[in-house]
Amino acid sequence: MHSVSVQSLTLKFGAAEVLKNLNLDVAEGEFIVLLGPSGCGKSTLLNCIAGLLELSEGQIHIKGKNVTWAEPSERGIGMVFQSYALYPQMTVRGNLSFGLKIAGMAKDEIEKRVQRASEILQIGPLLDRKPGALSGGQRQRVAIGRALVRDVDVFLFDEPLSNLDAKLRSELRVELKRLHNRLKNTMVYVTHDQIEALTLADRIAVMRGGIIQQLAAPQEIYNRPSNLFVAGFIGSPSMNFMHGKTVDGGTAFETAGTTLSLSGYEGGAVGARDKAILGLRPEHLEMVDAPIPGKTIPAMVEIDEPMGADSLVWLKVGDVPVSVRVPVENRPEHGKSVHLKVDISKASVFDAVSEQRI
């Protein structure tokens, strides 16, 4: 049984189709991240699961129950928002217990749950304060607490860390992961931040234009992006793309006047294509002094960006800028001609027309 199952979901705002025949199955206890650029429909999908938007078509099941038309409070979900959305006139305690009071829960049970949530999130000393007197991080903790006290199986997060500064964001990220390890709830988490997605997710659903482009484990998405969009969206700095064509019956790739052998490409035979794109992550390139036939491309060093642990070197292959990650002690001379050794087993080849990985 799936924890959350979205089936053929279509959602329209007037004439605009924001989600298009979308399917998504989330396993029990899974941490799923919906990742994509702003406006791709992530929040809309989450709101549909929460029951805050009426679907145009399709169904939603939570824990095997068809909840397509159920009220948000009847779905067994808790939700955390980017803007915290705490009730400003209530104390933290009031915020946590509001939903439970509405549900008509007994006083001592409410008290027990509030205590437990405040222990887990370490907000005990804040219980009698109003949200206005809390910092951003504390507010978001309370917002998570409000979902926690509901004692639900599914947590929905809509960019919960986006309003926090960088340091708090990484702290709370770790805390969220800890929370998930402890509670083992199903989590559906929306973000546009790929670091959050890569660090938190069991599986990532990369979205664009209301369509899930790829749904897979973070490593899989990173190593084998299913299309050009996913390849470019995931990874910082981005994957390098070299336009060219496959030659010798698809056993080699020709770009900028150089031919690279494709033997060892894990996608197997790529076939003959007039227009193809070779995608290489910066860490899968290496600067060498001497050319190796079929394995290197000539390039010229432009600038480098030391980043503490390692350094990012920007080179030009013909006119195309290419980045390479190198150990920080290997800083090259600017303007130097070098050769880039390609690790073809880690590369991705895309069809330039369909933009799909081959």
Binding site: S73, A85, F98, G99, A103, D158
Partner: protein, 300 residues
């Protein structure tokens, strides 16, 4: 360049100007004249109400009396003639209270719920409905007067307090609904969603989440309605019926009563008494009023 030091250079930007410039002088003069223009009648009213009739007839209207007396005020409140009765303007005062209280409460109750629905529970045609409501505020009152007479008569409430409360509620709706709709629309949408996830329904969200957050806008609405309804003459004279005439109508009757000579001191006292309620509200609530308007204007 080599020889110039930092001290030789002319500072960039404009030098701050002294407080008194001729522009400022003109502005403050005009403002002063305007203030005098509006304060002078009030001054004359107050000193006249404290004079005796003999003093008024004999003296200069700008000169205050040497022996002020509150007799005229007493008469205006308790025994001035307002048509058939001579029970003073206090009758009108209590009528106005009876009209203003319920009208304010009912109109704000209806408008706040309407605004809340339009902002947070959009239904089919809700934008159209809102537009029609707004158009309503552009229709001149006089066009609606007679139809409303017929409607209230049909409802069986013509010439009673409920009729005038009904009419005030109707005419208050467009502007108040706009006020509330915009305020509720400016509250974070995520708050509304959070309350729904918490299981709060239509009324639960309204009363337990939104109303406690909306004190500023309710304050503005209360002030608008109390002052507006208290100052009303037309609806009072048409729909309330003679026994329920509000203070403004009775003031008019006192001032225009044909019996005896003109008792200017009583007229002035009655006028000040009538204006006292809105005046007090403005003085007491000015701060909150501005705060409420600002709260409505600033998003979030």
């Amino acid at each position: 360049m080599a020889n110039t030091t930092a001290f030789d250079q002319v500072p960039s930007g404009k030098k701050p100007t002294p407080f008194i410039t001729w522009q400022r002088f003109v502005v403050y003069s005009v403002l002063g004249v305007c203030a005098l223009f509006f304060l002078l009648p009030l001054y004359i009213m107050v000193i006249t109400s404290l004079k005796s009739i003999q003093e008024i007839q004999g003296g200069n209207i700008f000169v205050p009396t040497m022996s002020p007396s509150f007799d005229a005020w007493e008469k205006a409140w308790n025994s001035a003639c307002t048509g058939l009765y001579c029970e003073g303007i206090k009758v009108g005062f209590w009528n106005s209270v009876k009209i203003t209280g319920p009208s304010t409460v009912v109109s704000i109750a209806v408008a706040s719920v309407t605004g809340y629905s339009l902002a947070n529970w959009p239904f089919k045609m809700s934008e159209f409905y809102f537009t029609v409501l707004l158009l309503g505020s552009f229709i001149p009152y006089v066009v609606m007067l007679y139809p409303l007479v017929i409607i209230t008569r049909w409802m069986g409430i013509y010439s009673t307090l409920p009729a005038v409360v009904f009419v005030h509620t109707i005419f208050g709706l467009p502007i108040l609904t706009l006020l509330f709709r915009n305020y509720f629309a400016s509250l974070p949408q995520e708050l509304f969603k959070a309350a729904r996830v918490d299981g709060a329904g239509y009324w639960g969200i309204f009363f337990r989440v939104f109303v406690p957050m909306s004190v500023p806008i309710f304050t503005v609405a209360v002030i608008l309605q109390i002052t507006g309804i208290w100052n009303d003459f037309l609806f009072g004279v048409i729909y309330a019926g003679p026994t329920n005439y509000p203070m403004t109508v009775q003031l008019n009757n006192i001032v225009n009563s044909a019996m005896g000579g003109k008792a200017y001191n009583v007229d002035m006292a009655a006028t000040i008494l009538t204006g006292l309620v809105p005046l007090t509200i403005y003085f007491v609530s000015g701060k909150y009023f501005v705060r409420g308007i600002a709260a409505g204007a600033v998003k979030g």
